[in-house]
């Protein structure tokens, strides 16, 4: 193996380490129009991600978790998405939605993304190697001859046994697990400060899930980048994240350190979700969360979880704010009102 060519990573203007959060999203509201009415996909979501932190975003389908993380680098085309409000600060600088040039620079170099179906995120008509080369060229990493060694090394790092032959293959010729690992490798080659992984294990069989999870964990440990992991699977999030954000019907309903949330969930939805996921039984029957997931085009007034909540009371006809309930913990429920629930 030839020595690793010393290619400077594109985004290491040495010495410029800012303190404060790496990414700060405030007041994001995203809507879509549909024949059934306006879909309130994300309502007033504020998320802050610290340097070196792994944050899990948990929610069921329609909770707004994917729209939220796609918006972290303004990835949703508008229209159809309608950004009603929302500001993003990345790495200490404002990232306005209209600043195309800066957004392009941040995508990939600053924020990398791994999608649920990795195979679909590659162009089926080109070999994997040429797609990696193109991405590296766009981000100014240099010509293929200069970076080839680093590419092979990174692929091996991602548990790809025979990277030379994978580079010659087309996306349809590799398994889903390999495609996912190639896309993680690609994200790593550009060395983003923040890696967003949207349901990275959902489309995979269990063996590949384990491989991808252990790889993500290793990436975070060794590359000291921040990680946002979006998943509906609480076990996956628990395994990797430091902090977890629970979303329901487009809003953050609870957030806090991962072990705190799992040990003492505060929001009735989180409690129900954990009980369902853990398959808790009562007299031989599984605990079940009643009702249906909400229709985002016709949300009930007040708390969106109210129709499914066993503990709802009169006050829940209004939308509760996100109360700070303990250090680092927030919960959107009147039961957690520090001034008393029956106000």
């Amino acid at each position: 193996m030839n020595a690793r060519p010393d290619v400077p990573a594109p985004d290491e203007p040495a010495g410029v380490t800012t303190t404060g959060p790496l990414l700060e999203m405030s007041g994001l509201t995203v809507r879509f129009s549909s024949p059934a009415g306006e879909v309130h996909a994300v309502e007033d979501v504020s998320i802050s991600i610290a340097r070196n932190e792994a944050v899990g975003i948990v929610g069921e389908s329609g909770s707004g978790k994917t729209v939220t993380c796609m918006s972290m680098m303004w990835l949703l085309p508008s229209p159809p998405a309608r950004y009603v409000s929302g500001r993003i600060n990345f790495d200490g600088e404002a990232l306005p939605r209209t600043d195309e040039r800066r957004i392009r620079r941040v995508r990939g170099a600053g924020i990398g993304m791994v999608f649920q179906n990795a195979r679909l995120s590659f162009d089926p008509a080109y070999r994997l190697g040429s797609q990696i080369a193109e991405a590296l060229r766009v981000h100014g990493a240099g010509r293929w001859g200069d970076v080839e060694g680093r590419v092979l090394e990174t692929l091996r790092y991602c548990n790809i046994a025979d990277p030379e032959s994978v580079l010659r293959q087309f996306p349809h010729e590799v398994s889903g697990g390999v495609a996912q690992r190639v896309s993680i490798a690609l994200a790593l080659l550009i060395r983003p400060k923040l890696l967003i992984a949207d349901e990275p294990t959902t489309a995979l069989d269990l063996l590949s899930q384990l491989e991808v999870l252990s790889l993500l964990e290793r990436v975070r440990r060794e590359m000291s980048s921040s990680l946002v992991l979006v998943s509906h699977d609480l076990n996956v999030v628990r395994r990797i994240a430091d902090r977890v954000i629970i979303m329901y019907a487009g809003r953050v309903v609870e957030e806090g350190p991962v072990e705190d949330i799992f040990a003492h969930p505060q929001h009735p939805y989180t409690q129900g979700l954990l009980a369902s996921a853990a398959q808790r039984t009562e007299r031989g029957r599984l605990y079940e969360l009643p009702g249906q997931p909400p229709d985002l085009a016709a949300l009930p007034p007040g708390c969106s979880f109210r129709p499914r909540c066993a503990r709802a009371f009169a006050r829940c006809n209004h939308m509760p704010p996100l109360y700070a309930t303990a250090p680092g913990r927030h919960c959107r429920c009147f039961l957690l009102d520090p001034r008393g629930a029956d106000d």
């Binding site: 069921e60 389908s61 548990n159 046994a161 069989d205 269990l206 063996l207 899930q209 384990l210 491989e211 999870l213 252990s214 790889l215 964990e217 509906h232 699977d233 609480l234 076990n235 628990r238 395994r239 129900g272 979700l273 369902s276 996921a277 853990a278 398959q279 039984t281 031989g284 029957r285 599984l286 605990y287 079940e288 969360l289 009643p290 249906q292 997931p293």
Partner: protein
């Protein structure tokens, strides 16, 4: 009816011939098991382990390359299409992609009632009665039968699929990933429904899933499938409390982080006399069989580690081989 098993697999292998590469694909490798009345069976394994092929073979959609499939004790190897049709009346199937199995252009009445058209010539009124009855059984209002598939939520579509399976009055229902397409908060609703139906309609299930939690509350026995063969088989609660095969342990650990380091349980085998690295399944306890062949564990596999962090690659392999050596020297 007789006491014969509803469905028996007797040394069933399914081999698909492939042109490129010119290596035959062994989908099922010498599989033997019975499903008897009232004792539902769960089969867990990864994609590609042959789970769905089992369904197809049981329904006669795929013929075994060798071995026999028996329905009620009758060898179906040379069964006619008519015999299969009669057998399918008692063995219904709930598919994985449920929305895709409903005709989007027709009201759900047509799709749910469709299986009845294979048996006799029901009138429209008879169809509506039968469909209304099964819709009630699965917790839907019969008045919804004239609606179209897109008007139902994911959980309701799954209920409709179950209703369609029940419409011919089966005794055995094959459930292929019955809840994997559903949200976490909806899964328990459907699993409880299935468990209620098993009791009220005297149904037996063959539950196939890549998520071990799905068959857990529906079955009395579990088979773990890897690469077309059974690597472990045990009563359901035994499998969850005392899994032995490294593959089973890893499947369960991913499903339930709290399971901890169960891989050590294989060490228990050392205490048993006479176990060497034999080929095939070895009985370790009543009804509990484990495949003792060396098992290749892919790199990056965590073994039974909980969420606190993943163990280095290959830890499980070492444990398994160490046990093999010790059992070898002890005997």
């Amino acid at each position: 009816m007789t006491d014969e098993p509803f469905v028996s697999f007797d040394a069933v292998s399914v081999i698909y011939k492939r042109r490129r590469p010119r290596v035959d694909l062994v989908a099922l490798d010498n599989l033997t098991f019975d499903v008897v009345r009232g004792r539902s069976v769960g089969i867990i394994g990864d994609s590609g382990s042959g789970k769905s092929t089992i369904c197809r073979v049981a329904e006669g959609l795929v013929r075994p390359s060798s071995g026999r499939v028996l329905h009620d004790g009758t060898d179906m190897s040379r069964a006619s299409a008519r015999m299969w049709r009669e057998a399918r009346r008692h063995v219904a199937l709930v598919f994985q992609d449920t929305l895709g199995s409903f005709n989007p252009m027709r009201p759900v009445l047509d799709s749910v009632g469709m299986p009845l058209l294979g048996y006799g010539d029901p009138t429209t009124a008879e169809l509506r009665d039968a469909v209304g009855a099964v819709m009630e059984q699965v917790g839907l209002s019969p008045s919804q039968m004239t609606r179209y598939p897109h008007e139902f939520s994911g959980g309701q579509i799954q209920r409709l699929a179950i209703a369609r399976a029940l419409v011919t009055g089966p005794r055995l229902v094959l459930l292929d990933e019955p809840v994997s397409a559903l949200d976490v908060s909806i899964r328990a609703q459907v699993l409880n429904l299935l468990s209620d139906l098993a009791a009220s309609l005297d149904l037996t299930y063959l539950v196939i899933s890549s998520d071990p939690g799905v068959p857990r509350h529906l079955t009395s026995e579990m088979l773990v499938l890897y690469d077309g063969r059974i690597v472990e088989r045990a009563p359901t609660e035994v499998l969850f409390t005392r899994p032995l095969h490294p593959y089973t342990v890893s499947l369960l650990a991913l499903h339930d982080a709290a399971l901890g380091e169960r891989i050590g349980h294989l060490a228990d085998l050392r205490e048993r006399d006479g176990i060497t690295a034999q080929t095939g399944l070895v009985s370790v306890a009543p009804g509990h069989l484990v495949d003792m062949r060396p098992f290749p564990i892919p790199a990056g596999w965590s073994g039974g580690r909980a969420h606190a962090g993943l163990s280095p690659a290959g830890a499980g392999t070492q444990e398994y081989q160490r046990i093999e050596n010790t059992t070898g020297t002890e005997t």
